[in-house]
């Protein structure tokens, strides 16, 4: 097969110092499905955005059809035949399928009047040509996510794009919808289209792609034929060492119940029941993991526990005290909280590191203030920041630097330091390693295990099953707002839990 695109020695730096791509060279062949895999932050999306003209490279060149190209914006890339489907679907919900497809390149009759009949017909022809099972007159807001994704692809095909970049297309789909997407992508490939497929799900990659390029921390590790690849090889390339899928827990017996939820129901303002009669218990010295596909009530559970939203019924008890009516400050005496959303919930990004470090402590710990809590003690604050810096190994210049200037991993270390040093008996961990690099994840896991040894009780919400199996003593599976299973980690396996997450019931052979 012929090489169609060659990306040579691409470098991209995000100020101040994040090297997103470090001398990456990849070749794409005509008519292949080429997967780009890597962990979060490996540079997959950045590489594709550079090709697509969404971001300029700081150095390097792109050869397309034997010519050097440099697209200033996606419009130019589409004209040249390269299109990208983003993770978030960008369509006009109130418009029909055909209206969305032609938007921007509408066929017009005299006086720039939209020729609807012709437009609709052209769209219908494209739908037939590619066997897309779509109704051109359906309104986009009425069709499924999978169908919307098809509309996005159709939009590009309508513009005669021959190279398709798909940025994590499966992340918005249900498991049942994925095979159909794959068969459509394969059909496109057989028609001579080239498809670049960004993903971090190894199974998908192996099933779909012809060749696989692995990126790690902005560097290219290699490109291999998928026939020669296995999950283990890819995983090792992605993380740079053999991945230990097994647990790192030491034997330890759990203590008394320190956190308990019972009969919790929450229905949102649009009358959707998000939590249905949720019961769970956490004992001192144990980690209870919540497994579930994102959007099955985890977010609401966290918000209810923290007091951001009020449940219709149910009780929350911490250390034997019913806390659901307490103020957030009252709750914080018993609950430490690490949020998955660093920028909005976990930190105040434009403030200084010290200002972020003392939040909550400034109210609960008298040593940070003088004059009956009214005036801050800057010396104590500086000391505290350096304690966090040392204990949690934070790479930073000074406590007075803005929080924003820290890398993601260091930001999370500061947040973790702040919350773990609160000395609360119960710790709520909502995806504590989201978006972190491998080294930082390892570090966060160690800290969590240390807290377990110190007899804290933890509730760990994670979208990452491997993380849950590594850390949690027990697993609670949530499906559509309900707890569908409670399992002891050592007596179950990833397949069983995965099935429960997707189907909401146990697998029956």
């Amino acid at each position: 097969m012929d090489d169609i695109i060659e990306m040579k020695q691409i470098v991209k730096i995000f100020p101040p110092s994040l090297v997103a791509l470090d001398d990456v060279s990849v070749t794409f062949r005509k008519g292949e499905i080429h997967a780009i895999v890597g962990e979060n932050g490996a540079g997959k999306s950045t590489l594709m955005k550079i090709l697509y003209g969404m971001q300029p490279a700081d150095s390097g060149e792109i050869i397309y059809n034997n010519k050097r190209v440099n697209f200033a914006d996606p419009g130019e890339a589409i004209l040249a035949g390269i299109g990208m489907v983003h993770q978030e679907i960008m369509l006009v919900p109130q418009y029909t399928v055909w209206e969305n497809v032609v938007l921007g390149t509408e066929p017009v009759s005299i006086l720039d009047h939209l020729d609807s009949r012709k437009a609709r017909q052209l769209v219908q022809e494209k739908i037939d040509e590619f066997h897309f099972n779509l109704d051109p007159d359906a309104k986009v807001e009425d069709i499924s996510i999978a169908a919307r994704q098809k509309v996005e692809i159709l939009k590009l095909l309508f513009r005669n794009v021959s190279i398709l970049i798909m940025d994590e297309p499966t992340s918005v789909l249900t498991p049942q919808e994925i095979p159909q997407l794959f068969s459509e992508l394969k059909r496109l490939r057989d028609n001579g289209h080239t498809i670049m497929f960004i993903s971090h799900h190894l199974d998908e990659v192996l099933e779909l792609s012809d060749r696989i390029t692995v990126l790690r921390k902005g560097r290219k590790i290699g490109t291999i034929n998928s026939g020669e690849a296995t999950k283990a090889i890819l995983a090792q390339m992605m993380v740079g060492r053999e991945v230990i899928f097994e647990s790192i827990r030491k034997q330890q017996s759990a203590g008394e119940v320190i956190f308990e939820i019972s009969g919790l129901n929450y229905t949102d303002s649009e009358k959707r029941q998000k939590l249905k009669d949720v019961h769970l218990q956490v004992q001192a010295g144990e980690i209870v993991g919540i497994a579930g596909v994102e959007g099955n009530g985890q977010l609401e559970l966290v918000n209810v526990i923290m007091g951001l939203i009020k449940p219709q019924s149910g009780t929350i008890t911490a250390q034997g005290r019913e806390i659901s009516k307490d103020s957030i400050l009252q709750k914080r005496k018993r609950i430490a909280f690490v949020s998955q959303d660093r920028a909005n919930m976990g930190a105040c990004v434009p403030a200084t590191i010290s200002e972020n470090a003392i939040m909550t402590h400034h109210r609960l710990n008298g040593s940070f203030t003088r004059w009956a809590g009214r005036v801050l003690d800057n010396r104590q604050i500086a000391n505290f920041t350096s304690v966090i810096r040392q204990k949690f190994d934070v790479q930073m210049s000074s406590g007075e630097a803005v929080f924003k200037s820290l890398s993601g991993g260091n930001q999370q270390k500061v947040i973790l330091g702040r919350e773990l040093l609160l000395d609360a008996p119960f710790i709520l961990l909502d995806q504590p390693t989201r978006g972190l690099d491998v080294g930082s994840i390892e570090y966060v896991h160690q800290q969590i295990m240390e807290m377990r040894e110190k007899n804290r009780g933890m509730l760990l919400i994670s979208a990452d099953l491997e993380e849950l199996f590594r850390l949690a003593d027990r697993l609670v599976v949530m499906h559509r707002g309900k707890v569908v299973a409670e399992l002891i980690t050592d007596q179950t396996n990833i397949t069983e839990v995965g099935y429960l997450m997707l189907e909401g019931m146990a697998y029956e052979a």
């Binding site: 957030i328 709750k331 909005n344 434009p350 403030a351 909550t360 400034h362």
Partner: protein, 345 residues
């Protein structure tokens, strides 16, 4: 720090350059005009004193807006709070008399109470009906405007006056002047010092600033965001009210129609150029005071119309505010280039 100074200085210089261009186009001599402007406002110690006194309401209303913006609430009600503060201080001065040591603080407190009551109305509207202070403070400005107009036209009207105004307040309530230097400057400086301390050293100021930047984070951290909102509204109302009281007590010594017509809006503008910083508010407030005082002299001597200074003020605001964002991206890009070089060598 150096960068911040640079951005502000560059912004001001660029604005002056633009102003000079406008003058040249209209056939005026910019150098002479600018010389007159500064000569009239800063040319001698007594002129400086006068300019300082004139800057007091600018700085205090600027401070009111700065504290509000830095802490979250968008209090745009300085004009109304200013008027209500001025009115309450005037009423106090009309009916009560005490020795100056008591009278002056008493009237100042009344002025602050007047401003705080008015911003308090907006705070209550938010608390009970979830109405945005952005809208309510603006509407309350109108109400304050006509309410004070009514008050000085009917109940507190000076008999036989041919203009809507109150009688003079008790002499014991006048702010003493030392030559051109008004004692209101001292009051203003004390207020700035207290506010600086609150914002930068106290637990409350810390919570306000963090809430202003990320309210959800502070809420989750245990901060009582609602209580702080009301406190900030009351404090910023009090600051604007204090400005109103000081203008009455050191200027006309009565509430006269049109009192402080422009000051309070300048306050919002000053807070914006100062990026809601306390010290920058003081500096920019004084600087705008220089421009406004100087514009009188400029008009007298050079025939350049005073309105040009308003244009200049607006241009400074635009350039400094826009420049802040631009310079930040510029510095970030420079940093990235430097890193690139480091890697290649």
């Amino acid at each position: 720090m150096k960068r911040k100074v640079l951005i502000n200085v560059v912004g001001i210089l660029l604005a002056f350059l633009l102003g000079a261009l406008v003058m040249i186009l209209q056939g005026y001599n910019p150098l002479e005009t600018y010389f007159r402007l500064f000569e009239y406002s800063l040319g001698s110690p007594s002129k400086i004193s006068y300019t300082l006194t004139k800057s007091v309401p600018l700085i205090l209303t600027g401070l009111s807006a700065s504290v509000a913006f830095a802490s979250g609430p968008i209090n745009l009600g300085q004009p109304g709070q200013f008027l209500m503060g001025a009115l309450l201080a005037t009423i106090g001065g009309l009916y009560i008399d005490m020795p100056p040591v008591l009278m002056i603080p008493f009237l100042l407190v009344l002025a602050m109470v007047g401003g705080a009551l008015w911003s308090g109305v907006a705070a209550l509207c938010k608390h009970f009906f979830n109405m945005s202070e952005f809208i309510t403070t603006l509407m309350l400005n109108m109400i304050a405007d006509f309410f004070t107009f009514w008050a000085i036209s009917y109940p507190f009207f000076e008999e036989n006056a041919n203009y809507p105004q109150t009688p003079l307040i008790a002499k014991n309530g006048w702010m003493p002047d030392w030559g051109n230097f008004g004692s209101s400057v001292l009051v203003m400086l004390i207020a700035v010092a207290i506010i600086w301390f609150i914002m930068n050293r106290t637990t409350a100021g810390y919570e306000w600033r963090i809430s202003g930047q990320n309210s959800l984070f502070s809420r989750l951290g245990g901060v009582n965001v609602n209580k702080n909102y009301i406190l900030v509204m009351l404090l910023t109302g009090a600051l604007a009210g204090l400005a109103g009281g000081l203008v009455v007590m050191s200027g006309p010594h009565r509430f006269i129609k049109g009192l402080g017509a422009n000051y309070a809006w300048d306050g919002v503008m000053i807070a914006m150029v100062a990026n809601s910083g306390v010290i920058l508010t003081l500096l920019f407030g004084f600087f705008f005071g220089i421009l406004q005082t100087g514009s009188l002299g400029m008009e007298l001597i050079t025939a350049v119309p005073r309105e040009l200074i308003q244009v200049l003020q607006a241009v400074i605001v635009l350039i400094v505010v826009a420049g802040r964002g631009y310079f930040e991206t510029l510095f970030a890009a420079m940093e990235a280039k430097r890193k690139m070089k480091e890697r290649t060598t």
